[in-house]
Symmetry: C2
Subunit: 166 residues, 2 copies
Amino acid sequence: MSSTKTAKIHDVVFSCRGTAVGKMRNDLTVKMVKPWPETHVMATDEGKYLGGEGTAPPPLALFVASLVGCIMTQIRSSAKRWTFTLKDLTVEAIVKWEAHQSENDSYEAMPKGFRLDIDIDSDAPFEDVEKLLEVARKSCFIEQTLGCTNTIQHRLRNDAGEWVIK
Amino acid sequence: MSSTKTAKIHDVVFSCRGTAVGKMRNDLTVKMVKPWPETHVMATDEGKYLGGEGTAPPPLALFVASLVGCIMTQIRSSAKRWTFTLKDLTVEAIVKWEAHQSENDSYEAMPKGFRLDIDIDSDAPFEDVEKLLEVARKSCFIEQTLGCTNTIQHRLRNDAGEWVIK
């Protein structure tokens, strides 16, 4: 990959508007802005142990699904581009976090491990399957995002209605 | 937060099994393993431009929803613990990536920016709202995961059925 020149840069942009409803449910309108418009109406909730009503999956379930779904999509897309015959594909994931609860009852979350077990059923030589995974990992938006340190900019609306950068 | 001692560590563990169906759809069974068992049946798909059938949101829509849903959940949970009166909460997000396409038609994905605009409606002083956001950010599993460099371990099943660490 590193030996090839970049021919084109494609922007991929999403927006999301979340509103708080119910006890812990968040209604989320997710829009793909680029490369073409799409809208997806989604929601998160929590189970009763966290004060929710279980009307939708918790945010972490969506996160884990996005990680597995993205690498699977990239494996399938890369296979098509190579005319690589993919007979079947199954991925099993384990994702671990820890929540360090302090004496004041607040806590800090931290990731503790990600593992993906990938089973690609194909007649191709194993070396080609390994190469397919390598290419798919580089094009997986979620894996590439998790593999670097990201800064999330926060703006908080103050009493005068102005956005304050945090 | 850093001045308080850690009283307890809670494990949070998710598993996921993804199977490839349809043209680009991935059926995903996401299980919360710890702290208590929950199962969520989910799916991803792609639109027709990427060879899919649009039967479910794309993986990146789930990812963006998880980011917004997680910080909203943490703001609401933290507000409850403090008996902080939250009258309303709205979050707007913009998430940007670039896909650098090479001459050989493969591409590399990279994150280009995350912004969350947070509107907390409360009678509390703005300083308390700022403090609430600060605490919520530390307890947001997704924000804390994105804020560090994560290694994803991959295992690929070879022709003999053995798992090979990649």
